[in-house]
Amino acid sequence: MTVLQIVFLVTGFVTLLAGVMVVASPKLVHAALWLIVSLAGVAVLFVLLNANFLAVVQVVVYIGAIAILIIFAVMLTRRVMADTGPTHNPSWWLALISALVLLGGLLALILQVPAFAQAGPTAQPAADSGLSDLGTALVDVNRFLLPFEVASVLLLAALIGAMAIARPADAAEEGGE
């Protein structure tokens, strides 16, 4: 039981708890806040995995953008502050069962593979946790330039599409503004 393991267990527990709260909490805004906690936990796990860059990006993208967006959406799509009505659909137990079965399958799968039980990483990553390598890899024609560009195009499309969808009908008619 080293320090790192303790840290991992604590973080993992918090993350998981937060996740459960996300899907379970009756108040949607709280769910969103719990989501943020869970995301932060994942970021910490990234740090534990020597992926500082990803960790920070996780915080920027998820907490800084997506979570805020979600909270915004939560606030915009209601007339009254308080949530009303049930938060889960009547057939939630079915969902629970199937999720549990899925979990069982996954766990069985994971535990079957012996290579996954290895104690620690085979090799130490580069000093800057492969940040420079990542940067070059993303713009290297022979490696990940295409996926990178595709992702950027996807983002642009999503941007425009979101605008087009969310603009009110009347505004769409009179051409924006």
Binding site: A95, S98, A99, V101, L102, G105
Partner: protein, 710 residues
């Protein structure tokens, strides 16, 4: 650029202009005429370049500028289109380009560009004096297309493309003669022209087909510049004792008869005067009628196949010369008795074309080409001049509000002082037409024909043509005298005034050519001035033929004849009409009596055709074809067929379609519908429901993979 490419490009600008005007710029008059004239200018420039290239090229006749590529693959061979510039087409191209350009420019002024449009002018009617033509842009579109047709015809290297241009011009003449379709006479005239020329065209097409079947090609050089082909054609008998060459020649010549209004298909040309005057000039001087003669000249080797100079004429040549000579005299006589300034010119055109055709017929190839060119220039000049006169008269009417026929020469007179530019240019043109000795182009070309006819001893033709020349000079002088000399016979004439520069400038240009064109063909052995200038016409155009024709020896008789007849005619015309009074009848009426009436009614040809051609045609169409053939026979057959088919159909439907086919179809559809209604309960429309099913399935799959089949 290589001249053949340039040649290929010559006809295109007017076509583009046509498209542009029709599709885009027809709203703006300025733009439209700019486009049209600009395009024509472009073609003119290219034509001149090609012309110079052609003149400077050595032995053009043997090595013409040509470019050809396959167009329609027809089985093994292919109908190819291409361009050919040999001396004949070069010369033709020269005058066509010039006259067309002049006419384009002239039209701007003629249609009163710049004047406001009169309120009561309606499209389809000639504008009342001074108003802007309502269909200005359309006019330019039409004449652009017309120029395209003519240029195509000239530069083409085979009969097929020639025929294409030929028919385009047919269409355009139809459209343009009927340009003022509001006038009933114009409507009639357009149909008449179209129908009449169509008769000729049908024969021509037959000729084309026959020639193609006989030779397997329509290319000029392949047929006409090819000894053995010509020999084969000339020797193989076809029918009625004609050789193939003869048959084709005559058939193609029928096309000429239609196009350049030879007897008996001349009737459409005078009526064609219903169109605007630039159109008259276009059709009757520059392009269409010339096209007819051009075709005959082209086909000269075919017509004269198996004929050596000085020998006996071949059958087609006989036909051609006879028709030409007769037409020349016949039309001249009619022209004498006409009062409409443009009709006189129209008949004179017919007779001049007769000259050319006759010349070709007697084998005077060069002379015919020469006269074709000079005539194009001075006749265009005369027409434009008459247009200017009419224009002036209309202005006069407009000012005086007098209602006189602006085209009737008896209403004119004394315009010399009113419109000097028009007068002098018209005078030059008139003298050229009358063949005024030495200075005018017409003299040289006519003299050439006379000399040729005399030298080869075609005395009948010679005499006829001389008589025609006398009449020509007479009615020309009559026209000039009635129009310009003396005192104004009506107020309108009194208040006529000179036309704009856009109209006079082309007149002047053409006048220059009307004089200068003659100098290109002065015979070497002409007394005094002979040989000062090389007989370019003979050397150059003569080069077209396989064996160059020899210039005929000089003899005084034809020279004196032509001088004599022209001077005599001019003098006569002046003496008879020098003091014609206002309102007084034509002096000739007293002199000739019933003959004059006969002439004035054009030998009753129109009535003749009306009775014996048009009426039967109508009967055939109306009573026989429509009422009997179509209405009774064909419809009857069709109705019976329809009845049978209908009954069969009903039977099939009732006993096969409804029970069997529909039954099966309904069975399938109904069962599917039922199944759907039964199964739709699982489609809850809840995405999550579907997701649950999916996830559950994945989970089951996983558990199977892991537990059951490890």
């Amino acid at each position: 650029m290589r001249p053949e490419i340039l040649t290929l490009l010559i006809p295109l600008p007017p076509l583009l202009a046509f498209g542009l005007i029709v599709l885009f710029t027809n709203r703006s008059n300025r733009l439209s005429h700019s486009v049209a004239i600009g395009a024509m200018l472009l073609s003119w420039g290219m034509a001149m370049a090609v012309f110079i290239a052609a003149v400077t090229a050595p032995h053009l006749g043997e090595h013409p500028i040509e470019l050809s590529f396959p167009w329609l693959p027809t089985g093994a061979t292919a109908l190819s289109i291409g361009v050919l510039i040999d001396p004949l087409s070069a010369a033709t191209l020269f005058f066509v380009a010039w006259t067309c350009l002049a006419i384009f420019v002239y039209s701007v002024g003629y249609h009163n560009y710049g004047q406001p449009r009169e309120a009561h002018d309606r499209a389809g009617l000639p504008p009342h004096g001074g108003g802007l033509e309502p269909m200005y842009a359309r006019f330019f579109a039409f004449i652009s297309l017309f120029a395209f047709g003519m240029l195509t015809l000239v530069v083409s290297d085979n009969l097929l493309l020639l025929f294409v241009g030929w028919e385009i011009m047919g269409l355009c003449s139809y459209l343009l003669i009927g340009f003022w379709f509001g006038k009933d006479s114009a409507k009639k005239a357009m149909v008449k022209a179209f129908m009449t020329t169509r008769i000729g065209d049908v024969f021509m097409l037959l000729g084309l087909a026959y020639l193609y079947s006989a030779t397997g090609t329509l290319n000029y050089r392949a047929i006409l510049a090819n000894e053995e082909v010509l020999h084969h054609l000339a020797t193989t008998p076809a029918f009625l004792g004609l050789s193939i060459a003869g048959a084709c020649g005559i058939l193609l010549f029928m096309g000429t008869v239609g196009k350049s209004a030879q007897f008996p298909l001349h009737v459409w040309l005078p009526d064609a005067m219903e169109g605007p005057t630039p159109v008259s000039a276009m059709i009757h001087a520059a392009t269409m009628v010339s096209a007819g003669v051009y075709l005959t000249l082209r086909m000269f080797p075919l017509l004269s196949a198996g004929w050596e100079e000085g020998g006996a004429l071949t059958t087609p040549m006989l036909v051609v010369s006879a028709v030409g000579a007769f037409t020349a005299l016949f039309a001249a006589t009619i022209a004498v008795a006409q009062n409409d300034i443009k009709r006189v010119l129209a008949y004179s055109t017919i007779s001049q074309l007769g000259y050319m055709v006759a010349a070709v017929g007697i084998g005077a190839f060069v002379a015919a080409a020469f006269h074709l060119i000079t005539h194009a220039f001075f006749k265009a000049l005369l027409f434009l001049g008459s247009g200017s006169v009419i224009h002036g008269m209309e202005h006069g009417e407009h000012e005086t509000h007098a209602h006189t026929d602006p085209q009737d020469m008896l209403n004119m007179g004394g315009l010399r002082s009113k419109m000097p530019a028009t007068f002098w240019t018209f005078l030059i043109g008139g003298l050229a037409l009358a063949g005024f000795p030495l200075i005018t182009a017409g003299f040289w070309s006519k003299d050439e024909i006379f000399a040729d006819a005399f030298a080869n001893g075609r005395l009948l033709v010679f005499g006829t043509l001389a008589l025609a020349a006398l009449l020509t000079a007479f009615y020309t002088m009559r026209q000039i005298t009635l129009t310009f000399l003396g005192q104004p016979r009506t107020q309108a004439a009194g208040h006529a005034h000179e036309s704009k520069w856009t109209m006079t400038l082309p007149l002047i240009v053409l006048a220059v050519f009307a004089v200068a064109a003659g100098w290109a063909g002065i015979p070497e052995d002409f007394p005094l001035i002979g040989g000062l200038l090389p007989n370019w016409m003979h050397d150059f155009v003569g080069g077209t033929l396989l064996e160059h024709p020899h210039p005929v020896a000089f003899s005084p008789i034809p020279l004196l004849t032509s001088i004599g007849v022209s001077l005599l005619g001019l003098l006569g015309g002046w003496l008879v009409y020098r003091n014609a009074k206002a309102g007084a009848p034509d002096p000739l009426i007293r002199a000739l009596g019933p003959v004059h009436t006969l002439l004035k009614r054009k030998y009753y040809f129109d009535e003749l055709y009306e009775r014996f051609v048009v009426a039967p045609a109508y009967w055939l169409a109306e009573t026989f074809t429509y009422k009997f053939l179509d209405g009774k026979v064909i419809d009857g057959v069709l109705h019976t067929i329809a009845l049978v088919a209908g009954s069969v159909g009903t039977y099939l439907r009732r006993y096969i379609d409804l029970p069997v086919v529909n039954g099966a179809g309904d069975l399938v559809g109904e069962s599917i519908k039922r199944a759907g209604r039964g199964g739709r309960v699982i489609q809850t429309g809840r995405v999550q429901g579907y997701l649950v099913v999916g996830v559950a399935f994945v989970a089951l799959l996983l558990s199977y993979v892991l537990l059951v089949r490890p």
